[in-house]
C-alpha cells in the first residue's frame, strides 16, 4: 500500500525494472532512516544522506535487475540507460555549444603574423573573427579599429581602410575589454596584366598563372591577397598559384586581387600532326612548328571560323612570318602580338567553310638559328 504519490526515486527504481517488493523495501528503509536522521541531525543532513544513499544503491539495484530480470526488464533498463546517456550527451553538447562572452579577436587571414594585406584602391573593410573562451565563433559586430603607428593610412572606427600608396601601419582592434594589434600592409594594385589565353597541350605540367599585378608606382606588387577560380575543373584545376590542364577543351579563369579582376581563357589543345581532315569534335588542336633559318612550310587549315595562335617555345624569339591564303583573317596583314608581356600571337580567321585554305610560316635569313613553337587552332564553328 502506498500513501502518497510515487517519489522520483521510486519512479527511477521502477524504470530500471526493480521488483516492486524490492523497491518498497529499499524505499521504506530509506524513509525510515531519513525520519530518524531528520530528528537526530536535522533535515538538511538527512536529505544529503538520502541522496548519497540513493546514488550508492543504484549500481547494486541495476546489477540485480540486469542479472535477475526478464528480457523485457533488461530491454527497459537498456532503454532507460540509453535515454539517460542521450540526455547526458545532449547536456554536454549544449554546454559546449553555448556561446560565451568574447574572449579573443583574430584577424581574418591565414597568418596574422604576416599582417593583413590590402590591395584594393577603394576603401576595404578589415574583418576580425571573434571567439569566446571555448573557441566558438561569435558575430564580429561591435569591433572598433584605431590607427596606432606606421604609415598614415586612413581607417574608420568600423575598420574601413583606404590605401592610396604602399606602407605598413599598426592598428588596434578592440571589442569591450579585449583588444589585439594588427599589421596592415597597404599594397594597392592599380592594374592586373594578364594573358588573354592560357594555352596548354594535353598532358602539359602545371604552369604559374600568367599575370602580373601592377602597383600605383608602376612596379609589380608581390604581396597579394585575392582569389582565383577556374570555371570548369574538368578542363583545368588550380594548384596554389599554378594551373594544371586536365582534359582537352576550354574554360575560363577569374582572378580577383583587391578591387581589380582579370579573366583568362584556358584552352587545352590536342597535339596533332596535321590540320587536314580534322573531325568535327576536334575543336582544340595544335601542331609543332620547327623552322631553321630560311625554312618555310605551308599547312592546310580547316574551313569555318577559328582562332589561330602561334606560341613560341622560347619567349625571346619573334614568331615566324605567318600568312594565310584563301580566307580572311583579322588583322588582315597576318598574326599580331595580342598580349605583349606574355608573348602570345594570335589571329581571328573566317574561312567561310572553304577548302584549300593554307597557312604559310617562314623563317627569314636573320634571327635565331631555329624557331620552335606551336601553331594552335581553336575552332569556333
Amino acid at each position: 500500500m502506498r500513501l502518497g504519490p510515487l517519489s522520483t526515486a521510486e519512479l527511477l527504481l521502477h524504470a530500471i525494472g526493480a521488483e516492486t517488493s524490492l523497491t518498497d523495501s529499499v524505499l521504506g528503509d530509506l524513509a525510515e532512516e531519513y525520519a530518524l536522521r531528520s530528528e537526530r541531525e536535522g533535515v538538511h543532513a538527512a536529505r544529503l544522506w538520502y541522496v548519497r544513499e540513493a546514488l550508492r544503491s543504484t549500481p547494486y539495484l541495476l546489477q540485480s535487475a540486469i542479472r535477475d530480470g526478464s528480457p523485457r526488464t533488461r530491454a527497459r533498463i537498456a532503454s532507460v540507460a540509453g535515454a539517460l546517456a542521450l540526455i547526458a550527451t545532449l547536456a554536454v553538447v549544449a554546454m559546449q555549444m553555448r556561446d560565451g562572452p568574447p574572449a579573443r579577436l583574430v584577424a581574418d587571414v591565414a597568418n596574422t603574423a604576416d599582417g593583413i594585406i590590402v590591395n584594393s584602391m577603394r576603401p576595404a573593410l578589415l574583418t576580425m573573427r571573434v571567439h569566446d573562451k571555448a573557441g566558438h565563433v561569435l558575430p564580429p559586430t561591435g569591433v572598433l579599429y584605431q590607427w596606432i603607428a606606421g604609415a598614415p593610412i586612413a581607417i574608420t572606427p568600423a575598420g574601413e581602410v583606404t590605401c592610396k600608396e604602399n606602407g605598413d601601419a599598426t592598428v588596434r582592434a578592440s571589442l569591450g575589454t579585449i583588444s589585439t594589434t594588427l599589421y596592415v600592409l597597404c599594397r594597392p594594385v592599380q592594374t592586373i596584366l594578364a594573358s588573354t589565353w592560357i594555352d596548354f597541350i594535353a598532358g602539359d605540367s602545371a604552369r604559374h598563372l600568367p599575370y602580373a599585378a601592377i602597383g600605383v608606382d608602376g612596379s609589380p606588387v608581390m604581396q597579394l591577397r585575392g582569389s582565383a577560380r577556374v570555371r570548369d575543373n574538368s578542363i583545368a584545376t588550380l594548384e596554389g598559384a599554378s594551373i594544371r590542364p586536365r582534359a582537352v577543351g576550354e574554360t575560363s579563369l577569374d582572378l580577383i586581387v583587391g578591387d581589380r579582376s582579370a579573366r583568362m581563357q584556358v584552352v587545352v589543345h590536342e597535339l596533332v600532326h596535321s590540320f587536314a581532315n580534322l573531325r568535327a569534335d576536334q575543336r582544340f588542336v595544335a601542331m609543332n612548328v620547327h623552322l631553321a633559318r630560311g625554312d618555310e612550310i605551308t599547312l592546310p587549315l580547316p574551313g569555318g571560323v577559328f582562332w589561330m595562335k602561334y606560341v613560341s617555345r622560347d619567349s625571346t624569339n619573334a614568331p615566324p612570318s605567318i600568312s594565310v591564303q584563301g580566307t580572311s583573317c583579322m588583322p588582315s596583314d597576318g598574326i599580331r602580338n595580342y598580349t605583349v608581356p606574355l608573348g602570345v600571337f594570335g589571329s581571328y580567321c573566317d574561312a567561310f567553310r572553304e577548302k584549300g585554305v593554307t597557312v604559310k610560316l617562314e623563317h627569314g635569313s636573320t634571327g635565331a638559328a631555329v624557331l620552335a613553337g606551336l601553331l594552335m587552332i581553336e575552332r569556333v564553328r
Partner: protein
Amino acid sequence: MSPSSLGTLELAALLAVARLGDDAYGLAVRRDLTERTGRDHSVGAVYTTLQRLEDKGFLKSHASEPLPVRGGRSRRHFALTGTGARALRDAQRQSAALWAGVGSLRPKLS
C-alpha cells in the same frame, strides 16, 4: 549448497539475520553489519545481498503491516531457512577447521 559458495557479505548478512531473529529486516541488518564490520554498506548492497540469499534458499521473507514511518510501506522481515542454518553451521565448521592449529599470529624472529 556448499558454504564455500557464500561470499563474505552474504555470510555476514546471514549471521546478522540469525542474530536479529524476528527483528531482521533490511535497516536492522544494515545497522548490525555496520556495527560489526565497521563498514557502511549501502541500502542497495544490503538488499541485493538479502535478495540473493533468498534466491539461494538460505532465507525466506515476509512483509509486515504498512508503517507510517516508512511512508506507508511494509518492512520485509527475513528469517533463516533450514538450508540457511545448515550453511551457517558448515561455514562455522569450515572456519574452525581452517583456524585449528594456528597459534599466535606474531611473526617469528629469526
